[in-house]
């Protein structure tokens, strides 16, 4: 594993480990927390030393990817995070917890604060609180930097995952295509870390790197509820690929996600989708399927890109070059789509509003792994000597 990817993983693991530590009912102090983050990063770099080295020769195309990242640096830091969900959910809870010096259960349990979705996992709010502890005060002007780092970490993982199977030029092209989809346009919201943890987890699971996959998927589940369904989607894909033993190797993901799930159950922080009678809503919404499908089609983002992904997947299937690794990604992405659709059929909210306010974001979460699957499959046909190399643990 190259140093770049070890550092990328170290960043992802340090942020995740910090969020686990900050869940504990202990006083938050910046220096011990920073020490824990450094320790987690150092351990990651140490533990991944000496594992398989992949030639990581750069190609001129990588310069274009760098331009995409530089452009994103300007975008993410152009002002304070502006998204409604940042200051009404993710940033709000980070600020509440920072002010309280810990998780403010009173705030989460107050009925007036239901709008902040008290049941959502806390990795990102706790990350904001930690950054503010280091800054010595709450100032969200440069929170965009965290999103740049999450994006860069994912791009590095993608670049190296592609370089394992392809020539440097093809790997660079794959990375260039996915780079802009790996950095989140929703600055301040949990999509950034979710896409980084979720996609990296999928790419490790794809080649049997189950320890890293489990940890990354566990942190994805600690970031957003979609991370929980992504874990389920990965289990489905592994079972379809007859990799039942690998399902058991995902236990660290459960161990990482469990503390928050237990805490929110103890404090009665239910998720809105499960409130009331979901089955009744499902039956009612099934009768409105054509309307819901119409709304989904209307709000579907990046239509040409998805048409291209679909065409790419169909092309590689027709050409007979679908491999188990790409099939795994396609099944996982498809299963996650099914979970997304299921949520709209049981939603207690106005369906049209729910779709228009979340569907484009959800679809974009799946663009990096779907693009990776389609591009890798096609690249294998262009350069047929390329084969997916299994991960060395």
């Amino acid at each position: 594993m190259t140093l770049a990817r070890r550092i990328a993983l170290a960043f992802l693991y340090a942020c995740g480990a910090l969020s686990l530590v900050m869940l504990l009912p202990l006083p938050w102090m910046p220096i011990p927390l920073a020490a824990i983050a450094l320790l987690a990063a150092g351990l990651t770099i140490y533990c991944t030393r000496g594992s398989e080295r992949v030639p990581s020769r750069l190609s001129p195309i990588d310069a274009l990817t760098l331009l995409v990242i530089v452009g994103y640096c300007f975008y993410a830091t152009i002002s304070r995070p502006w998204e409604w969900d940042y200051w009404a959910i993710w940033g709000l809870k980070g600020r509440v917890f920072y002010d309280a010096g810990g998780i403010d259960w009173h705030y989460l349990e107050t009925p007036w604060n239901q709008f902040s979705h008290p049941d959502y996992p806390l990795l990102l709010p706790l990350h904001y609180a930690f950054v503010s502890l280091l800054q010595g005060g709450w100032d969200d002007r440069w929170f965009g930097v965290s999103f740049i780092l999450f994006g860069i970490a994912l791009v590095i993982v993608i670049r190296e995952r592609a370089a394992r199977d392809l020539s440097p030029s093809l790997a660079s092209l794959v990375t260039l295509a996915i780079a802009a989809r790996s950095v989140s346009r929703y600055v301040g919201m949990a999509e950034g870390p979710l896409v980084a943890y979720g996609t990296a987890g999928l790419l490790f699971a794809r080649c049997g790197g189950m320890t890293n996959a489990a940890i990354l998927l566990g942190f994805a589940a600690s970031t957003k509820n979609e991370g929980l369904t992504l874990f389920a989607a990965v289990v489905v894909a592994l079972l379809v690929e007859r990799r039942a033993r690998d399902v058991l190797r995902l236990w660290p993901a459960v161990a990482i996600a469990a503390p928050w799930l237990l805490m929110r159950a103890v404090h009665g922080l239910g998720t809105d989708l499960a409130a009331g009678s979901p089955f009744e809503r499902l039956v009612r919404h099934l009768g409105e399927t054509s309307i819901i499908v119409g709304d989904l089609a209307e709000s579907f983002p990046d239509g040409w890109l998805w048409l291209g992904i679909l065409a790419g997947i169909i092309t590689m299937w027709i050409l007979g070059r679908t491999t188990q690794t790409e099939r795994f990604l396609v099944v996982a992405v498809a299963a996650q789509f099914v979970f997304f659709l299921g949520a709209y059929f049981v939603t207690p909210h106005d369906v049209q509003w729910h779709i228009s306010s979340s569907w484009p974001r959800l679809v974009r979460q799946l663009e990096p792994p779907a693009l990776f699957a389609a591009l890798l499959g096609l690249a294998r046909y262009i350069a047929p000597h390329a084969e997916a190399r299994p991960e060395q643990q």
Partner: protein, 164 residues
């Protein structure tokens, strides 16, 4: 079928020449599809952002969270924060009388700026008045309206903070 056979045989070098010739068109199709997908994935806007004047975009994004309420309402809330203690119960009163037409924004935004305090609404989500919000409050943060009663604690940025 032949194409598949050729592709599965690796580079196809072991197969007869005719198989390699037939494999070529499908490889070209794959290459075209690959490049098309790369082009679809690239986001030119991000690349352009490095080279253009970003000041207009910065100005737009600066006010994106608050739109028509920018800059006074957030500044007013910062003033309220500076003049209220932790744990204070603050009712938020603004001219908008409908939850979805703007009271939701005013209430949620106050939550963000006034963390450590209990923020109370004066309107329910189905647009019914909620006088308990004011009755239970220690302070009333009144923005864009004329005050009636209460002791003025601070005024600025189009609003007044009253103590009950």
């Amino acid at each position: 079928m032949w194409e598949r056979a050729s592709a599965r045989s690796g580079t196809g070098e072991a197969g007869p020449h005719v198989l390699r010739c037939l494999a070529m068109p499908s490889r070209i199709v794959a290459a075209v599809a690959f490049l098309a997908l790369v082009l679809l994935g690239v986001e030119p806007t991000l690349i352009r952002l490095t080279f253009v004047n970003r000041e207009p975009l910065r100005k737009t994004m600066e006010r994106a969270a608050d739109r028509g309420w920018y800059p006074d309402y957030p500044l007013f809330l910062e003033g309220v924060r500076a003049h209220t203690p932790r744990g204070a119960r603050i009712a938020v009163v603004v001219p908008v009388k409908s939850w979805e037409a703007g009271y939701d924004y005013a209430f949620y935004r106050a939550n963000y700026y006034l963390t450590g305090r209990d923020i109370l609404p004066v309107l329910t989500q189905d647009n019914r008045p909620f006088p308990d919000g004011v009755l239970r409050a220690d302070y009333v943060a009144l923005w864009g309206m004329t005050p009636r009663g209460g002791r003025e604690v601070w005024r600025g940025n189009g609003g007044i903070l009253l103590q009950r």
